[in-house]
Symmetry: C2
Subunit: 402 residues, 2 copies
């Protein structure tokens, strides 16, 4: 079997005809190196957003099935254009969409999960072509309806193709790799040479915008080494791996993130023995709302509950809580959007004690109040007020030598 | 089986969100009338042209397969938007693209012919939906490659769906029906209540821009009555039928057309016995170039050949002729683009003699020179110089009381 490489190019890498031509030249070099390439593309630039806006002019709540039908056209256009660009420089290429490659998914529109891919068709196509350009982000369900995988879904497509074909997986974007913190907002961000799947999963979940969590989950499941690098530079990128190379000095903290889309909800004066906690959390779970940092503080007779959620769910949650608490007259609640979640991630935490202490005292030193906190084996998160978030991030970067 | 109507809406009928919403309301009335509707849509407005331009920025000769992949997205967007618009006014609708309805075609990209359609899926879908919105203009070949049917192909899609499902076929556009001559350029154009398939075929072939010839051919083959009318008015349109209703007084000439995309080619001084005619026409046929009006005039020792072609093929033909004639030193040839083809069409010609005489003398009276001519059972065409074309058309309209 030929050695296959899966490359994924994001929307900004194929945003213009000029960029598509440059991507084609980049791919050509690899073909000349005797590699067979599966290229997974996103829609050009902001196409997906524009298509959503178009649909919303028809209906504020468009049918998810029909919206997926529309959105999937974005990748079909960019895939065919890239295939044309490759052919125009004498590279034998063909584009395939989801039904042509039988990319089967669950039937949850807008957040479908890939179930299977016709790898045989890929192998066979490589008899006649050197490059297969595939539409990312989309699939079909068993009835043939078009589905999409959700934001960043092209990453997931790429990993799924790599897992299914036993290929290497390379993710190209505007970012030259994975950074210790978001390079868009932090000039002192440093690029990592390696990061583990577990760390990357935490970072993705915490809002680092480079790679789709689900893509990392699949890569981890199949121990599929990934490589993230810049489309338009030759700068070395970041490898995402199961375990860091042994020769590498393992830092305690690999990266820090800031997430500004958080809302802190506090419910005061909860009487004991009401079962009110479970009623609230059950209702939220039924609406598929993830609750993050939970703190409960007991007063003499009552408890106060604080938790954080993604701000987008705010109004839904307000309704649920109002509903659940309407029989409890004594209760009060409060929504605070003026908060940020600051997190530190590192597999080194497992074998290094006192990391949480360093984390908290670093913030404490600067008088930054921690409103709520949560930790996992390789992560510490704290909710701080938005005006303190920049200082908090800087302090952690200094403390952990990032 | 439910009674089904196939309606086709052209690109200008779905050019904007506002128009799509109006089309949805038009369809809703029919659903309230207990009809089941298959709606065939074109791409929004000028989308197809814009996509072609985009592709041509990549390559002046884009791969036909990849171009079809791109073009097919236009109808997918408009179909899904219309389906959304219908659902938003409480009409149960679903959109299908070519692979979902298994619209199988030949594998000639850009001018594929429909071979089959999964009518069972349509009938079954009507158990759950009142309207099925289908992407016009496209299909898939047996390998699953996306094909397109060529310009005006959505008409063909609509007729094929109607033929396959035993439905009525209604074609909606900016034009309120079929006219005695092109209403865009002739204020005295009159709308016809009825026209026969044969007349319509001649008119379509002669450049009347209302209906795709191939659609009419299929309708004729299945004796499928068609109805052409305006999308956004209630004005009565035109029925296209096998035979005109008996009560209708049959005009000798039903319509006249003018085609300005003609080039007249003349080859002078062709020696006898060279077999040069067949060499030229063979070469043209091999390149799929249709030759229209042919005249041969014999001098004492030599012949002069005149024929007309569609101007778009001009350069191709120049090459063929130059190639074929390079061994014949005595020959000269000449290309004249300053010509128009004027035609009169009517089934009445079959039973009425002297129509050609009236046609020619009408032009003669005004001193309009006929450069070439061709006739069929129901059609007379003449090539005239462009500056005379307006006057010639006017003269024929008067002569045949159009």
């Amino acid at each position: 079997m030929t050695e296959i490489v899966v490359q994924k190019y994001g929307g900004s890498s194929v945003a213009t005809i000029d960029k598509i031509k440059k991507v084609a030249l980049k791919i050509k070099k690899r073909v000349e190196n005797k590699e067979k390439i599966v290229v997974v593309v996103s829609a050009m630039g902001k196409t997906t957003n524009e298509l959503i806006k178009l649909a919303e002019k028809i209906s504020v709540t468009p049918e998810p099935r029909e919206l997926d039908m529309i959105l999937s056209t974005g990748e079909q256009v960019s895939a065919a254009l890239l295939s044309m660009a490759l052919n125009s420089i004498d590279i034998k290429a063909i584009s395939y969409n989801a039904f042509q490659l039988q990319i089967y998914t669950t039937n949850i529109h807008a957040s479908a999960k890939i179930l299977d891919i016709n790898a045989e068709k890929i192998f066979k196509s490589f008899d006649n072509y050197d490059v297969i350009v595939v539409t990312g982000f989309q699939g079909i369900d068993e009835m043939g309806n078009i589905t999409t995988l959700g934001r960043g879904g092209s990453d997931t497509s790429a990993v799924a193709f790599a897992a299914k074909t036993g290929a290497k997986c390379e993710i190209y974007s505007d970012f030259p790799g994975i950074f210790t913190c978001d390079p868009r907002f932090n000039e002192f961000a440093k690029k990592l040479d390696y990061i583990t799947f577990d760390e990357m999963l935490e970072l993705s979940a915490l809002g680092a915008n480079v790679l789709h969590s689900r893509a990392v989950e699949i890569a981890k499941k199949y121990s599929l080494e990934m490589y993230c690098a810049s489309t338009f530079s030759e700068e070395r990128g970041t490898f995402i791996v199961d375990n860091l190379p042994e020769w590498l000095e393992q830092p305690v903290v690999t990266g820090v993130t800031m997430d500004n889309n958080q809302t802190k909800i506090t419910i005061y004066n909860i009487p004991n023995k009401t079962g009110i906690f479970s009623r609230i959390f059950d209702s939220l779970a039924k609406q598929r709302i993830n609750v993050d940092m939970i703190s409960i503080v007991y007063d003499e007779k009552v408890a106060h509950l604080t938790f954080s959620v993604i701000s987008a769910n705010r109004e839904k949650i307000r309704n649920i809580i109002t509903d659940e608490l309407k029989s409890e007259n004594s209760l009060e609640f409060n929504f605070d959007e003026n908060v940020s979640k600051i997190s530190a991630v590192g597999v080194g935490m497992k074998s290094s004690s006192g990391v949480a202490a360093r984390f908290f005292s670093a913030l404490d030193k600067k008088g930054i109040k921690i409103l709520a906190t949560t930790t996992s084996e390789i992560k510490i998160s704290a909710l701080v007020s938005k005006e303190n978030s920049g200082a908090a991030l800087k302090e952690l970067i200094d403390e952990f030598n990032l």
